[in-house]
């Protein structure tokens, strides 16, 4: 039996998902080595879902310490985790989710890592990091054919951004054989359809445009889902303040966010008076709503599975979760 073949134990455990995405996808998952940067409320949701899916290994990179608040929001922690290193504290419960996956904890600071560290993985998933680090990792990923996805939850707003480079995928389409419908109904056949999605590098998504150089990019963004600008505003806030908006400084933070948003609207030449967004949109971006972490954790893990298995159409390239209507939409940015 070759190394990539599934054992009887695995086919029994993964039976229901193999029936959905097929044995080849499961074998690719089994060979995948995943790096997860930061395992907080959203990170633990992602970890749960990808551990359950049956990857080869998961490396958890997080230099944080467990606070009381963190412990209450994170189901991979327990009461006596407080004050200890978060990456190590989640290990026990993470491993229990799937004993077949190799899990490692790394308590270094993600920013301190040498670029070569990021080369070794099949895919990297990041949460709660700043733009400079995102771009640094993306550069390594592109040079070494490592897929990359990151996302965040701000209150009930959530997003993810993917860079799967030139990603080849296939999907099964069910077709009726021939046009003739007999008494018993036509026989169905499943056809494998292939495609490619070309992802732009992250700097084209995240770096704010310079009006002179990026006339095209600005033109394209005129009909953007406005939540994309909210996403940019929140990332910019984090870049500037090295933290997320906090209830302790709510009024000031909302003002800062409004100012950032105003600048971004100007840069992208969006007419603020025609904006469909609630004026008080930033009221709902504090903390992390647990159920929204569950939703985005599901979305990101599903994209990881698609990226690794090459099965099904992935989101290209931004996913935006509407904090009011709960719609979740794809937005293609930077192409």
């Amino acid at each position: 039996m070759s190394e990539n073949q599934l054992s009887a134990v695995e086919t029994e455990l993964y039976d229901r998902q193999i029936r959905l995405w097929g044995i080849e996808s499961q074998e690719k998952l089994r060979a995948a080595n995943v790096l997860l940067i930061n395992i907080r409320a959203l990170g633990s949701e992602i970890a749960k879902n990808i551990l359950l899916s049956g990857i080869n290994s998961l490396t958890i990179l997080d230099d944080g310490i467990v606070t009381e608040e963190e412990q209450e929001k994170n189901f991979l922690l327990s009461k006596d985790s407080k004050g200890k290193k978060i990456a190590e504290e989640v290990l026990l419960k993470a491993q229990a989710l799937n004993p077949l996956v190799k899990i490692k904890a790394d308590t270094d600071s993600p920013a301190s890592k040498d670029p070569s560290y990021f080369k070794e993985f099949t895919i990297i998933v990041a949460t709660c990091i700043k733009t400079d680090l995102l771009l640094k990792i993306d550069k390594v990923c592109r040079a070494n054919n490592v897929k990359f996805i990151f996302g965040d939850v701000f209150g009930t707003f959530a997003y993810s951004v993917s860079d799967f480079q030139d990603h080849e995928y296939h999907e099964d389409q069910v077709q009726l054989a021939g046009k003739k419908r007999t008494h018993e109904g036509a026989e169905k056949t499943t056809v494998k359809v292939q495609g490619v999605v070309n992802y732009p590098e992250l700097k084209k998504v995240l770096i704010l445009p310079n009006t002179k150089q990026n006339a095209d990019c600005i033109k394209k963004s005129k009909r953007r889902n406005e939540l994309f600008f909210i996403m940019l505003s929140l990332i910019e806030f984090r870049n500037k303040k090295s933290r997320n908006p906090s209830l302790e400084s709510k009024e000031n933070d909302i003002k800062t966010l409004q100012d950032i948003k105003k600048d971004i609207f100007q840069l992208y030449q969006v007419d603020e008076t025609k904006s469909k967004l609630d004026a008080d949109i930033f009221e709902i971006v504090f903390g992390e709503a647990i159920p929204v972490c569950a939703v985005l954790g599901g979305v990101i893990a599903q994209e990881v599975i698609k990226a690794v298995s090459g099965k099904e159409v992935p989101i290209n390239n931004v996913f935006l979760f509407d904090p009011i209507t709960y719609d979740g939409k794809e937005e293609t940015v930077g192409v």
Binding site: E12, L20, F75, I315, K329
Partner: protein
């Protein structure tokens, strides 16, 4: 979370019905969001195939009750929550109106329509808001049900479940699924409980096979032998060669004599035991890894060998018992069905399938994954927040769809909540329904089981014949058993009769109008239920919804995450047109040749 929501969450009492795929996720979300008072009910026990998504369970929990283990797991994350677990069925009489009234909100995480219908009625009766949810593969949905505000779970007729005409199974299979259904019936004929609807021999009543003006004569191979198949099998001591030749040679030869059937079809080729066992083109492969056993299509000679082997094993299992119950997870039973389905498929030149694929179809397995459950469970709790603040208008249904190249939506929310159907036979002020039955042949017991329980989803119905005030069906033991075997017309239930039906547990009263009806065509259902009289004429003429067929597929899937995914309308932004998000998976929904059963 704002202050009113925090308070509402901390003081609310929540019931979670089902602790499977969605249930585990919902429980975790509730516990982490600050809910303090949760009750959980599930009658199921943990299976290995649950562990890829029901993350509150581990290998050492296999075989234990889901509700109990889920409670323990949650308490290990957060010991400060009050959780009560019931290892029981929610449809049990122990969970009546007063039980439901104790909750501020009920969250469904169920796997079958019967239980969903029941909880829907209980929540309407108790006037407790209900959030209904389900997933199937990559898809899923979340829906609020609140009496007087939204539609109820039964307002819209659900897509019927697919079944097949008996003669297709017995005489003219054309798809692998027909052979698989036949193979399961063969299992029951040889080892299972006797069911005359599951005959496997040629059907001489097939109207298509009849020659004008000629009455068929009953022959050895035809229907006349039905009753004695089991007896004959025992007489020949389950000799595999003789069994094989009967089902795959003699019966096929008999079918070939029904010449009309083969005028437009490719005729089957009878196969003898000797031919099959030494079938050419088979290489003697003796691989034993999972892939070759499960994923590869077995050769004809391998099918034949497995047929013989499993007949032997099953015969031993049957010794001392009255009958065996087919189970997809029982190896010899599943192997037997795989072998027989493929042998029959070979005879009819239908494509053969791997054991893995046949298990999906025979076991009616709906694939389920962690990610879809996580997303749906997240949305369930987001809706729960708004419901607790009585912000019902902000809880329209949300659909999770498989991403396609043509659609930007992953999660699509309706623009507004759906209004109740004024003619709904469950939630309208005076529920009313028309039923079409053969009042001369249907017994009172059949009426109770098939119509009131299976079709209309009552649990413990009482029925009074209007005008005469006579109790014809009673939920009290011993009161009306004397009526059981009588035909409907013998106790005065005839065309035009009105029955006042009542389910005390569900607090549900339904007026049933009886229409005498006799099936005309071979594919006509044995009975029909029509909620909206306006639909009657249209339905009749287009041969639409049908109930009660000869051949039934399993009514429930074995999964805890099952839902029937309706065709989804895509609320595209900036466009007045509504178009479909994804083409519906081809389920032959438009194929009106199929008999269908409402579960």
């Amino acid at each position: 979370m704002n202050v009113p929501l925090k308070e509402a969450v901390a003081t609310s009492k929540v019931l979670v019905v089902g602790s499977g795929g969605i249930g585990c996720e919902v429980l975790k979300n509730l516990a982490l969001s600050g809910f303090k008072d949760i009750e959980i009910i599930d009658l199921d026990t943990i299976d290995v195939s649950n562990l890829n998504r029901q993350f509150l369970f581990r290998k050492e929990h296999v075989g234990k009750p889901k509700a109990v283990v889920a409670r323990e797991s949650i308490l290990s994350y957060n010991p400060d929550i009050n959780i009560k677990a019931y290892h029981d069925s929610i449809t049990s009489q122990d969970y009546g109106l007063n039980f439901f009234k104790r909750f501020n909100i009920v969250l469904n995480a169920l796997d079958n329509r019967a239980a969903r219908n029941h909880v829907n009625r209980m929540c309407l009766a108790a006037d407790v808001p209900l959030i209904e949810s389900g997933t199937s593969g990559y898809s899923g949905q979340v829906e609020l049900i609140k009496k007087g505000v939204t539609q109820c779970y039964e307002c819209q007729p659900k897509p019927p479940q697919k079944t097949f005409p008996g003669c297709t199974i017995r005489n003219t299979p054309s798809e692998p699924v027909h052979c698989i259904v036949w193979a399961k019936h063969l299992f029951n004929q040889l080892f299972g409980e006797d069911d005359p609807d599951q005959d496997v021999s040629p059907d001489t009543e097939d109207p298509e096979a009849k020659i004008e003006g000629q009455e068929h004569t009953e022959t050895e191979s035809g229907n006349i032998k039905r009753a004695s198949t089991r007896q004959w099998t025992q007489e020949i001591k389950y000799d595999p060669a003789q069994l094989f030749n009967k089902f795959f040679k003699n019966d096929i030869e008999y079918l070939l004599k029904m010449e009309n059937l083969w005028k437009t079809r490719k005729p089957p080729v009878p196969l003898t035991w000797e031919q099959a066992a030494s079938h050419e083109g088979d290489t003697a492969e003796e691989e034993n890894n999972v892939k070759s056993q499960d994923m590869k299509v077995w050769s004809l000679s391998k099918c034949t060998k497995i047929f013989a082997d499993t007949v032997g094993v099953l015969k031993e299992e049957l010794a001392g018992k009255t009958f065996l119950v087919w189970d997809k997870d029982d190896k010899p039973a599943m192997d037997f069905v795989t072998a027989c389905a493929n042998i029959r498929a070979h005879i009819f030149t239908i494509s053969t399938k791997s054991r893995f694929e046949i298990k999906s179809i025979a076991g009616n397995i709906i694939p389920a994954i962690a990610t879809a459950n996580a997303m749906i469970a997240g949305l369930v709790v987001l809706h729960a927040f708004r419901v607790l603040l009585q912000d019902y208008q902000k809880c329209p249904s949300i659909y999770l769809r498989q991403k396609s190249i043509h659609s930007k939506f992953v999660l699509a929310a309706d623009k507004q909540i759906e209004q109740a159907n004024p003619k709904c036979y469950v939630c309208s002020p005076q529920p009313f329904v028309n039923v079409f039955v053969n009042t001369q042949t249907m017994t009172v017991k059949e009426f109770e089981t098939e119509l009131l329980k299976k079709s209309l989803n009552m649990v413990a119905p009482d029925a009074i014949l209007d005008g005469k005030g006579m109790v014809v069906i009673s939920s009290e033991e011993g009161e009306t058993e004397v009526n059981n075997d009588k035909k409907l017309n013998e106790i005065g239930i005839v065309d035009g009769s009105i029955l006042k039906c009542d389910d005390f547990l569900q607090n549900y009263e339904l007026t049933v109008a009886i229409n005498h009806y006799e099936p005309q065509e071979k594919d006509d259902p044995l009975y029909k239920v029509v909620a909206n009289p306006d639909e009657l004429k249209a339905k009749e003429s287009i041969n639409g919804e049908k109930n009660g067929s000869e051949e039934k597929k399993e009514e429930e899937s074995d999964e805890d995450d099952l839902m029937i995914v309706n065709e989804l309308e895509d609320p595209q932004e900036g466009s007045s047109k509504r178009r479909k998000l994804n083409p519906p998976e081809d389920k032959d929904a438009e194929d009106d040749d199929l008999c269908v059963v409402e579960s």
